[in-house]
């Protein structure tokens, strides 16, 4: 199976920049996810790979073959790119049976009828719909339609599999089950796949690597643990999982060894010392810097990394005094909202062993290595 490479791929709709110079690669057999909020350009990117949207610039290579290159005037039409695609609405043709739907790509490829039947039967077994070939496609359940759409995209052993939010129309239970099945099937067939979703949980569990996008730009490319543990930008930190982003108004000492800053809490100020490895310099963003003033720096920490109480693990831990504003029970754990100064409240997650009521005065402790300091790139 081939790999895929996008080089500086762009798309503008009039004045709107939908995708701004996307450069990325997916290795042979890899499942790469494009993740981001709606309007971030992930679907447009996928549609450009499929040939359904004409890029405004850049190039796309699938395996050894350039399918799009603005500079060289190459634009292979969608039907000649040889890709398999699963659409958000499944796009199962209602006037055809299950088998006719699945056989369509083979029919377009002038495959003999006998061979078509054989391949359709095989792929139906693969997706767990064996024997349903003659069923009218309008009688399928949502989950079955999803499997037919997948079978249709796989049956001709395409160069690349594209999936556009394939699970978003399923109910929660089925979605979780299909997530694992998809992953297993993709690995078994050994296809390279590009997967688009706005659901971060789906992205984290499915992907080999994921690409986080926002406002048409790529924020970070990395493995799920990379992205979760070491978010490259403020956006990624806040988009993936839960987090506290504390604007540091002033007074950061940028040292060769790291940074030092003061945090205001209820009973005074606490000094925070961060090593150089915990500092991320964000690249300049065209899309987001216009208009809005960026804070000098922001300190990020995940709720589960904050401990309630003084039981700090290390001597370097930062201690902050605060008052509990509210508590929410979420089954296996509890979420607290703790105010540490007039402008800042922190989300804190802890076990449900101890119950701390609203209004209680508490101390929070955070290990320095659990904090990340974001700093805008120098102008």
């Amino acid at each position: 199976m081939p790999d895929i490479a996008l080089d500086n791929l762009s798309k503008t709709f009039g004045p709107l920049v939908a995708v701004d110079g996307a450069t990325l690669t997916a290795a042979d057999g890899e499942l790469l996810t494009l993740l981001g909020p709606s309007g971030c350009g992930k679907t447009t990117t996928l549609r450009m790979i499929a040939g359904l949207e004409e890029p405004s610039g850049g190039s796309i290579r699938i395996g050894e073959r350039k399918v799009y290159d603005r500079a060289r005037g190459i634009d292979v039409p969608a039907e000649m790119r040889g890709l398999g695609m699963v659409f958000q609405s499944y796009a199962i043709w209602p006037h055809m049976t299950v088998a006719e739907n699945i056989a369509y790509p083979l029919r377009m490829r002038h495959v003999s009828r006998a061979r078509q039947r054989e391949l359709v039967d095989n792929v139906l077994d693969l997706v767990g719909l064996g024997g349903l070939g003659d069923k009218p496609s309008t009688l399928l359940s949502g989950g079955q339609q999803q499997r037919v759409a997948l079978a249709r995209a796989l049956v001709f052993e395409p160069a690349l599999l594209l999936l556009d939010e394939p699970l978003s129309n399923l109910d929660a239970k089925l979605r979780e089950q299909m997530r694992f099945e998809l992953r297993i099937m993709q690995k078994r067939v050994g296809l390279t796949a590009v997967y688009v979703t706005h659901d971060q949980e789906e992205a984290l569990t499915l992907s080999d690597r994921l690409v986080v996008m926002n406002h048409g730009e790529i924020e970070q490319i990395g493995t799920p643990s990379d992205v979760y543990e070491r978010p490259a930008t403020r956006f990624v930190a806040q988009f993936i999982g839960k987090g506290n982003m504390i604007d540091v108004a002033g007074g950061v000492d940028w040292l060769p060894s790291g940074a030092r800053l003061m945090l205001q809490s209820k009973d005074g100020t606490s000094e925070v010392q961060l090593p150089a490895g915990s500092i991320r310099t964000e690249p300049a963003r065209k899309a987001r810097t216009n208009g809005k003033e960026q804070p000098a720096a922001s300190l990020f920490v995940r709720p589960e990394k904050i401990t309630i109480g003084t039981g700090a693990k290390s001597a370097q831990a930062v201690q902050l005094a605060g008052r509990v504003l509210g508590r929410a029970y979420v089954g296996n754990r509890a979420e607290y909202l703790v105010m540490i100064n007039d402008a800042t409240s922190l989300k804190v997650e802890s076990s449900t062993d101890v119950t701390i009521g609203a209004g209680s005065e508490v101390t929070l402790s955070i290990e320095p290595q659990d904090m990340v300091l974001y700093r805008p790139s120098p102008p």
Partner: protein, 582 residues
């Protein structure tokens, strides 16, 4: 653009089968060329005739020969008081027809959608029927009943009560407004009932919880909320009044009532030589008036052209009326339906079995009219022509409308809007004017483009007349198909052409059938276009009917009318059946 033929082998695992670049793609014609060709086609069909009409209104000639430039055609109207009575008559006719229709349509629509009137379902189903029965036929029926000399009613009055002289005279204003209103009630009901059903009952319920009585709710909430819709539909009905031809011709002419449409026709057909110049100038004036009203109507409707009934299984609370009122409204409906459909059609059926109009008695019962229709061939020839022309026009509209709808819905190209606008342009254009414009336009060019007197010019007329509704139907059919169904075909190896063939065409089949029925029905009942454009061998059934009426051959007229009625009804039944399958 470079295209690679055949798929490049992948590194590992060969993809199955071979893809070939379709021949159309190899030509490398950009789609905008097709859009432009379609724009050109519509310009020839729709814009060109009116450009010629407008131009020739400033010339002295007649179709086929422009003559010299002159302003005399307009001087006829603006240089004398002749325009005033026509304007005045047209306004009186349209306004009174609208007024009567509005009262009854509002009452029926409100009763059916919002009250516990008995048999509401039946009423809702039957009140639209008169709209679908061609005006021409019920007009013949009523004229057989109510003409002052030997109308059925006057004869009965004489025989039973010995009354001398007519008790009823449908020639002139009375008959004109009476008969035109019957059809308008049905049309307005059809347009209004959706709004009444659609209106969210929670607005009314909110008023009730705040202490308003049912009457107050109706006056302060229901009608004001529907006012924009009512106003806009009223304007549409008023425009229909200005353009209507059959009623002024049949009821107005013998009573000396002339409005725009029958005045134009009079100048063309009853004057020797025909006054083409004056008629053309009057046509341009009529277009200007309707266009101004149409702009007003669009403004009121805020760009919305259709009422879409969305009330999915939702039942607004119904007003409980006292028994007398309930049954009173129902009785009114029964009377309406008898007048609008049953009585005139029964009279036609009755007459089709009597040889001589006005002589009724068992000894005169005959099947001669029916054998006449079959043996003399004129009616059958008209029927054959109607079916052929309407069928070709309907197919043409499906193709043109489908393309226009597709370009408008699927591409972001600005020509899509131009196409949509051009397809809509003939909407509410008076048939007489359209006929005259086509006459001018296609008699003008040199051979072989001179279509004067050919069947093709009538077919073009039907295409133009059917295009607005036909294209709208096709556009909504395209709209209902998710673009992903097509994209899925493209990605999985189907070229544009094969996507149309295997995916789009089968999915559009039902919408295309609906469009076919609409355009066919419009064409089959149209009188004005063939009347101005036919020659003996291209006569359509409606022209044949008018001929029988004008030669007072009432028996053959009756039998032929029933053929026309059967044609339209079969089509509508087919349409209903396919709709109910869904």
């Amino acid at each position: 653009m470079t295209m690679t033929a055949g798929i490049v082998a992948t590194q590992r695992g060969q993809a199955i089968g071979v893809l070939r670049t379709p021949w159309v793609a190899r030509l490398g014609i950009p789609p905008v060329v097709f859009y432009a060709l379609l724009v050109a086609l519509l310009a020839v069909l729709v814009l060109y005739p009116f450009a010629v009409l407008f131009t020739s209104s400033f010339f002295t000639g007649q179709p086929g020969r422009l003559g010299t430039f002159t302003l005399a055609n307009y001087a006829v109207w603006f240089g004398s008081w002749d325009l005033l009575p026509i304007m005045l008559n047209s306004v009186i006719y349209s306004a009174s027809r609208l007024g009567i229709a509005l009262v009854f349509a509002l009452l029926f629509a409100w009763a059916v959608a919002r009250t516990n009137v008995p048999f509401a379902g039946l009423m809702g189903w039957m009140i639209p029927i008169p709209f679908f029965v061609p005006d021409l036929l019920t007009a013949f029926g009523w004229l057989m009943l109510g003409n002052p000399q030997n109308g059925m009613i006057n004869q009965l009055a004489q025989q039973l009560f010995g009354i001398q002289g007519p008790v009823i005279n449908l020639y002139g204003w009375g008959g004109l407004i009476f008969h035109a209103s019957l059809n308008s009630i049905s049309f307005m009901f059809l347009m209004l009932v959706g709004f009444f059903k659609q209106m969210d009952a929670s607005y009314e319920e909110a008023a009730i919880t705040l202490g308003a009585s049912k009457l107050k709710v109706m006056l302060t909430i229901t009608f004001p909320m529907l006012a924009p819709a009512i106003l806009s539909i009223s304007l549409l009905v008023f425009i229909h009044g200005l353009e209507s031809f059959e009623n002024p011709l049949l009821f107005g002419n013998p009573g000396g009532v002339y409005v725009f449409a029958n005045e134009i026709y009079r100048m063309l057909s009853y004057r020797h030589p025909p006054e083409y110049g004056a008629a053309t100038a009057l046509s341009v004036i009529l277009i200007a008036v309707t266009f101004a009203l149409l702009v007003l109507q669009w403004r009121k409707l805020g760009g919305r052209r259709f009422t879409v009934v969305t009330g999915k299984g939702y039942r607004p609370t119904r007003v409980r009326l006292p028994g007398a009122l309930r049954w009173g409204i129902f009785a009114l409906f029964v009377v309406y339906f008898l007048l609008a459909v049953v009585i005139p059609i029964a009279q036609i059926v009755f007459n089709s079995f009597f040889e001589i109009f006005g002589l009724y008695g068992w000894q005169y019962v005959t099947l001669k009219n029916w054998s006449n229709v079959i043996n003399n061939g004129r009616a059958l020839n008209g029927l054959k022509n109607t079916i052929i022309y309407a069928t070709i026009a309907a197919f043409a509209v499906i193709v043109i409308g489908g393309l226009v709808g597709y370009i408008r819905v699927r591409t972001r190209h600005w020509l899509g809007y131009v196409l949509e606008l051009m397809a809509w342009a003939p909407w509410t254009l008076p048939g007489v004017v359209m006929g005259l414009a086509l006459l001018w336009a296609w008699a003008l060019p040199p051979q072989p483009f001179n279509l004067y007197g050919t069947a093709l010019v009538i077919i073009i007329g039907f295409i133009v007349k059917g295009l607005p509704l036909g294209a709208a139907t096709m556009q909504s059919a395209v709209h209902q198909i998710s673009p992903e169904l097509e994209e899925s075909s493209r990605v999985h190896g189907g070229s544009w052409l094969r996507t149309v063939r295997y995916i789009l065409a089968p999915l559009l089949r039902r919408g295309a059938f609906a469009a076919f029925v609409i355009v066919f029905a419009i064409a089959a009942r149209d009188l004005t276009i063939p009347l101005l454009l036919y020659r003996d061998d291209t006569e359509t059934l409606t022209v044949t009917l008018l001929h029988y009426y004008e030669t007072a051959d009432m028996g053959t007229l009756a039998a032929t009318s029933l053929i026309q009625l059967a044609l339209v009804m079969v089509l509508l039944a087919l349409d209903r059946l396919t709709r109910e399958k869904d």
